[in-house]
């Protein structure tokens, strides 16, 4: 006995429909990655203690929700940077999110305004990486991204607040004032891969050393970054 092909098509379609990974699958798949963000969140909270109150520390985690930019913001504030230069530097660091959003948009066709907003806020480097893989290989539902982002969101809120509150518990003499420098060093190794990126990073150090002879400290980081990255564009031919 053979079923009409239309029936088979409908059956297999409904079968795929129930198996497409959704919100909960995205949440679960991202848990290990979310756990991996905890030390970074603790570091942000500890550094934020120098410039932000606990509720401001959490406000930034809840609204900005972008680890590198948050960390850059509190680090620059701890070094006495000007508010405008902090804002502008973080705006540059976060520009990357435009690319992630653009790359994920083909997989989010046909969703409503509320889910679009939730998907946007759920977008981080980590949720992007996990979700794009699921969209491509498992035909995940658009809401998978929201679940994925939610896992990171929850862990990020807890880790950053704990880091902020616990920073007062570490007694003097245990090197807490070195938390910023140590986490900058680790982040540098985590984010810089190519030879050209290393050359640009070293150039930024030289430019920071030179520019602080003339510029007020508040603008050194921004100036060194913009010049180094722009010179880096020209190095593409050789590196």
């Amino acid at each position: 006995m053979s079923l009409p092909s239309a029936t088979i098509a409908r059956m297999s379609a409904s079968c795929v429909e129930t198996e497409r990974p959704g919100l909960w699958a995205g949440f679960r798949a991202t848990l290990p990655v979310a756990l991996g963000c905890v030390p970074f969140g603790l570091a942000y909270g500890a550094v934020a203690a120098a410039s932000l109150s606990p509720w401001q520390t959490s406000l930034m985690s809840l609204t900005v929700f972008a680890g590198t930019a948050q960390f850059v913001a509190v680090s620059m504030l701890a070094q006495g940077a000007d508010l405008l230069s902090v804002w502008f530097t973080c705006v540059l660091v976060n520009l990357r999110l435009l690319l992630l959003s653009a790359a994920v948009s083909p997989h989010l066709q046909g969703i409503g305004a509320a889910q679009r907003l939730a998907s946007a806020q759920a977008l981080t480097d980590e949720s992007f990486a996990v979700s794009l893989g699921a969209f491509r290989t498992h035909d995940a539902k658009p809401v998978y991204l929201v679940g994925s982002g939610l896992a990171i969101y929850l862990f990020w809120q807890i880790a950053t607040l704990v880091g902020r509150l616990a920073s007062g518990l570490i007694p003097q003499g245990f090197g807490l004032e070195y938390a910023l420098s140590a986490s900058l060093i680790c982040l540098l190794f985590m984010l810089v891969h190519s030879r050209r990126q290393w050359v640009v990073a070293l150039l930024a150090i030289v430019l920071a050393l030179v520019s602080r002879l003339w510029l007020p400290d508040a603008w050194v980081v921004l100036a060194a970054t913009m010049i180094a990255a722009t010179v880096g564009l020209g190095l593409k031919r050789w590196l």
Binding site: V64, V72, Y178, F189
Partner: protein
């Protein structure tokens, strides 16, 4: 400070939402993508310079700030672990500041 946080949050949400809201293929020119790849490393390196090569120091290579960066960088290079790098850096820094 709260105003800074709100202003940063507004731009960040716009970045996340804009390409989704436009729903068409949204593309930055390739030189802009290229530039963006270079920005995070440059920011971190410039901030690190401000943190460990202290301005106004006569012998900056003798400060605990710079010396503690060496073992911390070695651990970061080997492990890429935030916790291990921070513990190493903080302990070495605490030891050196007692000794120097």
């Amino acid at each position: 400070m709260t105003a800074l946080i709100i202003a940063l949050a507004a731009v960040t949400l716009a970045y996340r939402l804009l390409p989704l809201a436009l729903l068409e293929r949204f593309r930055l020119p390739s030189w802009a993508r290229d530039w963006l790849e270079l920005v995070p490393g440059a920011v971190l390196a410039a901030m690190l310079c401000q943190a460990v090569l202290l301005p106004g120091e006569a012998e900056p290579w003798k400060t605990p700030e710079l010396l503690a960066a060496v073992p911390a960088a070695a651990v970061a290079w080997r492990t890429r672990s935030m916790v291990r790098t921070m513990v190493t850096g903080m302990l070495v820094y605490a030891l050196l500041s007692h000794m120097l």
